[in-house]
């Protein structure tokens, strides 16, 4: 029914790499100051993906829960670090990392486990061919949502600190004083995934589905998986952002309902 999968050769990839090099050259000529970053990022993509390919080969070869657990943990830590790195104003100490890691752990891990065990029904539920890519996609997307939400929260709290304090002075609780900012932060975290659900299939074919189709799977099977993925990604991003923004907002105030911007530091300081 389907044609055979075509395997890519290193020469094929080198041709694609030429495009990136061309982009780097053009941006250098235009003085965008991005040439170095483009090359480094392209190298990282190639290197990191190759390494992951090797690791996956080992992990897939044996269904060892400990090995899979370790891999999942490494992915979580990397995602949490990325959340911190994307903040302009970060929570001092372990809070920034902990908030990212905690909210992603609750949302991504819980929802991925649910999808594996109850929806897809693989046996055992941690079968790496399903668990690792699914978790990867969940973490990648919730990471974006959570960092957007937290960034919006801390940035707005900073900009509107005197308004927040004005409300506290009138006897409003911390939750009333930050309520509007908290809502807009969660909204800005959720909107990209909601938009991508709305545009799916019309504007772009999502990456996973494209991959499955390229690998020769029937399109309708690929579509069903994609729908599942979109649903769990939206839920994961939404719940993850809610948890992160709510915890973050709480952390901006102390037990005496004082706005504590000293708990934030600007990136690079």
């Amino acid at each position: 029914m389907t044609s055979e999968t075509i395997f890519l050769t290193p020469t094929d990839l080198s041709l694609a790499a030429l495009l990136v090099i061309a982009l780097a050259l053009v941006s250098r000529r235009m003085g965008l100051g991005l040439a170095g970053q483009i090359i480094v990022a392209a190298f990282r993509t190639a290197l990191q993906l190759c390494l992951v390919g090797l690791v996956l080969k080992v992990v897939f070869a044996s269904i060892n829960p400990l090995l899979i657990g370790c891999m999942a943990l490494v992915m979580l830590v990397a995602a949490a670090r990325e959340v911190v790195a994307r903040q302009k104003r970060r929570f001092v100490g372990w809070w920034g990392f902990g908030m990212g890691a905690g909210s992603m752990f609750v949302s991504s891990f819980a929802i991925t486990t649910f999808a594996l065990a109850a929806i897809i029904g693989v046996d055992p539920w941690y079968t790496p061919q399903y668990a690792i890519p699914l978790l990867g996609m969940m973490l990648g997307n919730t990471m974006t949502g959570i960092s957007l939400g937290l960034d919006r929260l801390t940035e707005s709290a900073w900009e509107r600190r005197s308004t927040i304090e004005g409300r506290l002075m009138l006897g409003h609780t911390w939750s009333e004083a930050i309520g509007e900012i908290r809502r807009t932060s969660v909204r800005s975290a959720m909107i990209p995934t909601i938009n991508s659900m709305a545009a799916a299939g019309l504007v772009s074919l999502p990456g996973m589905m494209t991959g499955q189709i390229l690998a020769g799977n029937p399109p309708l099977e690929a579509v069903k998986y994609q729908i599942l993925i979109m649903f769990i990604i939206s839920a994961g991003t939404g719940f993850g952002a809610l948890i992160a923004v709510w915890t973050g907002a709480r952390r901006l105030f102390d037990e005496r309902h004082r706005l504590r911007l000293d708990r934030l530091k600007t990136a690079g300081q």
């Binding site: 304090e165 002075m169 009138l170 006897g171 609780t173 005496r256 309902h257 004082r258």
Partner: protein, 206 residues
Amino acid sequence: MEKQLVPRLRVDNLFIHGVGPVSLDIEKGECVGLSGPSGSGKSLFLRAIADMEPHGGTICLDGTEQALIPAPAWRRQVGLLPSESRWWSDTVGDHFAMSAASGLNRLGFDAGIMTWPVSRLSSGERQRLALLRLLENKPHLLLLDEPTANLDEETSATVEELIRAYREETDAAVVWVGHQRAQLNRVASRFFAMESGRMISSGGVP
């Protein structure tokens, strides 16, 4: 008898970011004037009393210690009016719990102003409405941080009058931070000056 002896505000050994130690009693119905160069810690002192900043020492309102009262309730009893008013919603009325009609009249507004967008208010109008909004909480102590800094003479007089009337009606105490000695002499009966974090008595009833 005992009730008479409890001051409205008692500040004991207050420390906050290089300001202090400050110890001070303010009686019911009393208005205390506080002056000093900018950066001397006047605003910080007011913020500590309103519990907006972490600080050391004890602060009691009518004999009850700050830490024993939940912070939002404390700030409704200790009303801090910052030198620049803050607005978070579009229309004026959104910032008021109920209709503040009587006060509106006294400050020369009619009730229609409640439907105005905040952006239409002048800075003087904002400041007067902010005061009205604060008085809605029925605070026992008013902390005023240069409350008439943006107002013309006539409006300043209305604000002074509103505060005096409120003080007499409710026996509230007032800490009035200001730069104009003439105004402080009009409104306050005891005076302090803040100099590089120290509070010095500068005359008035002992």
